[in-house]
Amino acid sequence: MSGGVQFPVRVIETEAISPTVKRLRLAPRDGQALPAYSAGSHTVLTIDGGSRLIRNAYSLLGSTLAGGAAYEVAVQRSPQSRGGSAFIHDHLTVGADLSLSAPINLFALNRTARRHILVAGGIGITPIAAMAAELDALALPFELHYAMRDTASGAFAAELAARHGDNLHLYVSERQERLSVRDILARQPLGTHLYVCGPERMIEGVMTDARMAGWPESALHAERFLAPEGGEPFALRLARSGISTVVGEHETLLEAIEAAGVDAPYLCRGGACGQCETRVLAADGHLLHADHYLTDGQKSRGETIMTCVSRLRGRELVLDL
């Protein structure tokens, strides 16, 4: 399968960490040990959603870095959800079967860095907390800054506080506490690297502040997972397979390709990794590039499209698949 190796797993534990975040513990169904992974890795869950196959990427928690008997993920019920996270919250209970991909890391710690500044907003804490766990185990210097709306929505806050003590700085916007990136970035010694995961606007803000403070690009790391949004439906023709289909309003281009029975490449399903880049043969309409992979020049040339998050506004798209 194009997403790589699949591991059949079963939900063996669920926990409501907050009103909107659910933790899942997934154990292999075939007795095969799950591979160890590095902090910042994610996995793509494949769930039979009845009428459709749900494939969503989730960061792997720091609690199961060694792999083996189980993996853990935390899923936030997304208000803009196309149904995936809502299905996981409402229907995925202990005993449910699903499969997951081998771990992929697009947000790894730089092991040559001398100090690590971790910044998380909301559910963005999941890969960041795993990084903190890894750095803590390696006894490497780090500070963790975690911004959240209110204490109830701050999944993991208490656990992180117990584990990391003074290395953890919490900012609760309900209590008028604001994370000041400029203060955090000032006076950091050479060799410090910065990692951010959270809402897109937060990532942009932190990155801009770091660049304005003269930080070099190689020291800046962000996890930009996009939840693909729906859009207007359009016709899709897969030239090599000789298949014509329609990409529905609440469906991604990649999902429509898969539903048509074509095994198209993918890895992150969030516009970050570049694996699903596909050649555009013809586009009767305007390509809506939503990924973080192609350069602006590549996007305007429109020779390729990232099927996981991008789509067409127009009549028909013809792909080399």
Binding site: L185, R187, P189, L190, G191, M212, P216
Partner: protein, 200 residues
């Protein structure tokens, strides 16, 4: 310069102060002073710039030094040797913070030594700019005795430590700041081709 097919062979650019940097450290040897003067001239970055300079060995002309002193930079330090200059750089970098950019200009062996020492101090590679000025001399590590020979201007060269004749390859170590030198006559002792000078 012909691009080398060897990927590790360093490429040098033209110094250009990074607008948002909190602090600039420019370090130059010999002819490298001109690159610093051209880049920083009357740039607004000068007020946040420390310049470290060492004249080329055996040079008695002080014009570059005088010119550098006329720039209104934050600090200027002139050392008599590259070793002393490197010592000063290490001291500066040990307390430097993120947002500091380093600019290096001079001979190829000088750039290599400074870059490797700066990386050891934790600065990110993309926070360093380099511009080659002056002689195309290289710093070479003998792969046999591991000794370093500075100021190598042609290949084959003689290892200053073990005396082996070395073919100087384009393979470069960023960690060591040196090119690789391998015995040229291992299979036919004494069969040493005439030396060819490195291109500029």
């Amino acid at each position: 310069m012909q691009p080398s097919p060897i990927k590790s062979r360093p490429l040098y650019g033209t110094l250009a102060p990074v607008a948002h940097a909190m602090r600039h450290i420019a370090i130059a040897e010999g002819e490298g002073a001109s690159a610093v003067i051209e880049a920083f001239g009357d740039h607004e970055a000068l007020s946040r710039t420390t310049i470290l300079f060492s004249p080329a060995p055996y040079r008695t002309d002080r014009t570059q030094e005088t010119f550098l002193a006329s720039l209104s930079c934050e600090a200027l330090s002139v050392a008599s040797s590259a070793e002393d200059l490197l010592g000063e750089l290490v001291t500066l970098l040990s307390t430097a913070t993120m947002g500091t950019r380093l600019y290096v200009s001079g001979s190829e062996d000088f750039i290599g030594r400074v870059t490797s020492e700066a990386l050891h101090q934790g600065i990110d590679a993309d926070a360093i700019q380099t511009e080659h000025r002056g002689a195309p001399t290289r710093r070479v590590q003998c792969v046999h005795c591991k000794g370093f020979t500075d100021g190598v201007s042609a290949s084959p060269a003689t290892c200053a430590h073990c005396g082996i004749h070395l073919l100087v390859r384009d393979h470069y170590s960023r960690r060591l700041g040196a090119f690789m030198g391998v015995s040229i006559d291992a299979e036919a002792p004494g069969d040493i081709p005439p030396a060819e000078a490195f291109g500029a």
